[in-house]
Amino acid sequence: MSFKRVVITGMGALTPVGNDVPTFWSNLVAGVSGAAPITRFDAEKFRTRFACEVKGLDVTNYIPRQEARKMDPFTQYAVIAADEAMKDAGFDADTLDLDKAGVIWGSGIGGLKTFEEEVMNYSENGRTPRFNPFFIPKMIVDSASGVLSIRYGFRGPNFITVSACASATNALIDAFNYIKLGLMNVCISGGSEAAVTIAGVGGFNALKALSERNDSPETASRPYDKDRDGFVLGEGGAAIILEELEHAKARGAKIYAEMIGAGMSSDAYHITAPHPEGLGAYIVMKNAVENAGIKPEEIDYINTHGTSTPIGDPQEIKAIEKFFGEHAYDLNISSTKSMTGHLLGGAGAIEAAACIMAIKDQVVPPTINHFTDDPEINPRLKLTFNKAEKRRVNIALSNTFGFGGHNASVVFKKYED
């Protein structure tokens, strides 16, 4: 049996720098930071008091209030992004085979806010313990894919991938492989996260993972800068419609790009720290490039994991230099987390969207907030500091790495018949 080809035919995004794909992308290219003081809760006593929140969002403009209140924000974000992507893909409701349409979503944590609220209030005033009947279905991490399948009637494969900050990339990989194997024609994939909550910020603060640059939130996420001091927590997500090529052609769909390969690996080293020499990062890029059936020299752009942590950034760079050799200095590299913050389980989705748009528009979005070179980072690398760069982007690679040592990478290519 021959493998099917997989193309991208729709996208939606709800991010700290824009609540739809056009706004998200134009702000990435313009180098806009999404960081600002936290509004989701009173963070006054927290070590970190800023984050990259989704802004100006009235959920009821998208989802009736009665439905929305039965969804944790991470599911609301999934619905809003998926609605945009479904509209963009423009399926014909009368002819789409719903049994061959799936939802494979990614989220690292799930309904954290729901969990917090229920646990903090279950026994107010010493009452008999009471939990809301929607607590469990709202909180469990798979609720987002369940809600999406109900919303669009998609009766094919349906689940959530969980691999911390690689979650959405794993979702894209599973969706890609199932379509490649002919098990479904269409899949809503991507991921979302809503962890700008008391426990999310407090928990990452306890790990000393977050930037504490409270006096300058918008310059806090500074991947590869000498003075980076941790990541900036982000929220939101993106939906990517993956479709079997012949299915897309038959209905005359607009094709953004082709997904040509994917890689996975594990550091097998430490539950939170990345391997110091970037071993897992090296293996995942090697696996992705081999799976795509291309030569490393064909990669034009890498959207890195690059979270702006002191130890995380250099190990990925070391792996890039080791894997790509001299080509490491020809391709462009950027971390869009400098603008969006780190969406955890949703990161792979918005960064895949950034790669796809980079291919579509032939421009590499920047790594903003570069002030001081880090002697650990080779200055020959084109890290696309501070300003977007017009260049040929035929093939782009997106890396994501998660706590637990999970590494996942995906490869997109300009579509050619």
Binding site: R65, Q66, N125, T128, R130, P133
Partner: protein, 78 residues
């Protein structure tokens, strides 16, 4: 309408997203107001919170309509 009935009506309108005019004493949460069994459990919880009392499960099972809720609360709210 009693003060209790008015508060019950507001809770139902808020939670089930129905019009005030639909919230008649005879209206059944599930058959008339679009609630499912989980919505009904949540409504009972809201009544408990609003009126600061505990409704035992065997009593809650008998509350299926707006009128039954109001009658139970009028009898039990101190």
């Amino acid at each position: 309408m009693s003060a209790i009935a008015e508060r019950v009506k507001q809770i139902i309108v808020e939670k089930l997203g129905v019009e005030e005019s639909e919230v008649t004493p005879e209206a059944n949460f599930q058959n008339d107001l679009g609630a499912d069994s989980l919505d009904t459990v949540e409504l009972i919880m809201e009544f408990e919170k609003e009126f600061n009392l505990s409704i035992p499960d065997d009593q809650a099972e008998n509350i299926g309509t707006v009128g039954q809720a109001v009658a139970y609360l009028e009898e039990n709210v101190k």
